[in-house]
């Protein structure tokens, strides 16, 4: 994977978030304030603009550009969470011009760690971490396989994790004020995380 391959993955995520914008807003409307699709589509729109105007770049530089543009376009909760995720991913492969299959698990794990560090959520709190934590675990378990297999395993685990959030009671974020009323609804941040990993996989 070169910097251009990372760009292609992030651009694929941007397209996926545009397509899912209304669906994510509707999901968020059930337990939050209905703007998650706007944040993700707007944030990755800014990533698309930043990366399209970027000539070359190492994987680390691409991740850092994505982090900065996403953060400043979005704010909200997802801004700092994904900005930290991308910065950690960039730091994890710092110094490499070309990434090998062996780097793939580290990327997913670094993103999950960034989200965990910034958001201070625990697994089971009904947040995007409930998709990212199982994704990191699956990526670690798939180490040694081609990068596309690693990301596919992570995406599948994230999808299962997102599905499982409907059985969780929210403990952080706006939905936490719902208490038991959050049961039966999937967490929109976990759903978009799974979509992101699936789009990254498809771009590989």
């Amino acid at each position: 994977m070169t910097g251009d391959d990372i760009k292609a993955m992030l651009l694929a995520v941007a397209d996926a978030m545009d397509a899912a914008r209304d669906e994510l807003c509707a999901l968020d409307g059930e337990i939050g304030d209905a703007d998650h699709g706007i944040a993700m589509s707007g944030g990755f729109g800014a990533v698309r603009t930043a990366l399209s105007g970027m000539d070359g770049g190492t994987p680390t530089e691409v991740f850092n550009a994505a982090a900065k543009s996403f953060l400043n376009a979005v704010g909200a909760s997802s801004g700092p969470l994904y900005a930290t995720a991308f910065m950690r991913a960039g730091a994890a492969v710092k110094g490499s011009e070309v990434l090998s299959d062996a780097d793939a698990p580290a990327l997913v794990e670094a993103m999950a760690e960034g989200i965990s560090h910034r958001g201070k959520a625990e697994p089971g709190d009904k947040t995007m971490l409930d998709a990212w934590a199982p994704a990191a675990e699956a990526a670690r378990a798939a180490a040694g396989q081609p990068a596309a297999e690693v990301f596919a395993a992570a995406a599948t685990a994230a999808e299962k994790g997102a599905e499982a959030t409907s059985q969780m009671q929210a403990k952080l974020g706006r939905a936490a004020r719902l208490g038991a009323r959050s049961l039966g609804h999937r967490d929109p941040g976990a759903v978009s995380a799974a979509m992101m990993l699936r789009a990254m996989t498809a771009a590989l």
Binding site: C25, D33, A34, D35, G42, N72, G75, P80, R174, R177
Partner: protein
């Protein structure tokens, strides 16, 4: 079916609103050169004064930008609709208003705001500017009393920011401005009621479901669910439910003084707010409390949501002096 709004492209709504605000209120406000989403008071920030930076998502106007001006906040960081601003505008605010005495961040207690403003505070620390934070948590319906630190900040921001802004304007130290801000927050109590949902400019769809004929007591200013949903009741009964809770939380003694804000959420007419105020004042009178000052109007809105909130600040001599201190903001003045 899209909701009806007088906008152009929904994605441009916040920036176009800010353009209009600066054209209307250029005598009091300007945008930072570092960030168009950092709105700075032309008069107010000065050497030796603690800088007060407020902020949060758009859609609550006149909160936050309308409370920037001499004697109140020195700057506001402006986010997208109902979304926290990113760290950059908050950092730009800090750099613009820092007068060497430190800066205080004040904003409502929401997860996204905390993450972004904390990141900005970390960046400011690298510039050797001390930034402290006081979160507002006045919405008594948003968490039980034993978890008061988890409550949301809503319309009571008006009083809490006012007190802290006046304290900074009196040239109090950062320690004292922070103390006043915490004290003001601890003595400010808000309860809201929603009658209809609102819609974001980017989606133009109702962002939650609240059927005709129903109301929800305790609903948050982004449509966060409240504590009780049911058929709409007469104004006096709605106010009684709100005031029962507020008076219980406040635990004031007969003869104590209060300040009152009856706040519209966007689509509720002043007629209804004044009808509510009539009952609010009756309940305060029955409790033996003296109303020192009352504001009625749209001070913290939720786009076009119908509904209202009642905020009572339990005054003491210091808070009363700070609330009375003159201020000159784009959308709020005390003379």
């Amino acid at each position: 079916m899209q909701t009806k709004k007088i906008i152009n492209n929904g994605d441009d709504a916040v920036d176009e609103m800010l353009d209009g605000i600066l054209l209307a209120h250029g005598d009091t406000l300007r945008a930072s050169e570092a960030s168009g989403r950092a709105i700075i008071a032309r008069h107010g920030p000065r050497e030796g004064k603690v800088g007060l930076v407020i902020g949060g998502g758009s859609g609550h106007e006149p909160t936050f930008v309308g409370f920037v001006g001499q004697g109140l906040a020195d700057a506001a960081a402006i986010g997208n609709v109902f979304a926290s601003p990113p760290p950059d505008p908050a950092l730009a605010c800090v750099q613009e208003v820092s007068g060497g005495a430190g800066v205080l961040f004040m904003y409502g207690n929401y997860a996204g705001d905390v993450m972004n403003f904390d990141m900005a505070a970390e960046m400011a620390a690298m510039d050797d500017i001390e930034v402290r934070t006081v979160l507002t948590t006045d919405d008594v319906a948003s968490a039980p009393r034993d978890q008061a630190e988890k409550r949301r900040g809503v319309a009571g921001n008006f009083f809490i920011f006012k007190a802290a802004g006046a304290a900074a304007d009196e040239m109090m130290s950062l320690d004292d401005v922070e103390r006043v801000a915490r004290h003001a927050n601890a003595r400010t109590y808000t309860m809201g009621v929603a009658l209809s949902p609102c819609s974001l400019p980017q989606t133009r769809r109702w962002n939650f479901d609240l059927p005709e004929g129903e109301m929800e007591i305790g609903m948050g200013i982004h449509g966060e669910p409240g504590i009780e949903r049911g058929p709409i009741k007469p104004a006096d009964e709605i106010v009684d439910e709100m005031m029962d809770r507020i008076l219980d939380e406040m635990g004031a003694a007969s003869g104590d003084r209060v300040a009152v804000l009856v706040n519209g959420l966007g689509a509720t007419p002043l007629m209804e707010l004044y009808i509510m105020n009539r009952r609010v004042q009756a309940r305060l009178g029955e409790a033996g409390l003296e109303t020192h000052a009352t504001w009625v109007g749209n001070y913290c809105t939720s786009l076009e949501m119908a509904g209202a909130s009642v905020t009572v600040m339990h005054l003491d001599d210091e808070l009363q002096r700070l609330i009375d201190r003159p201020c000159h903001c784009a959308m709020f003045r005390v003379v």
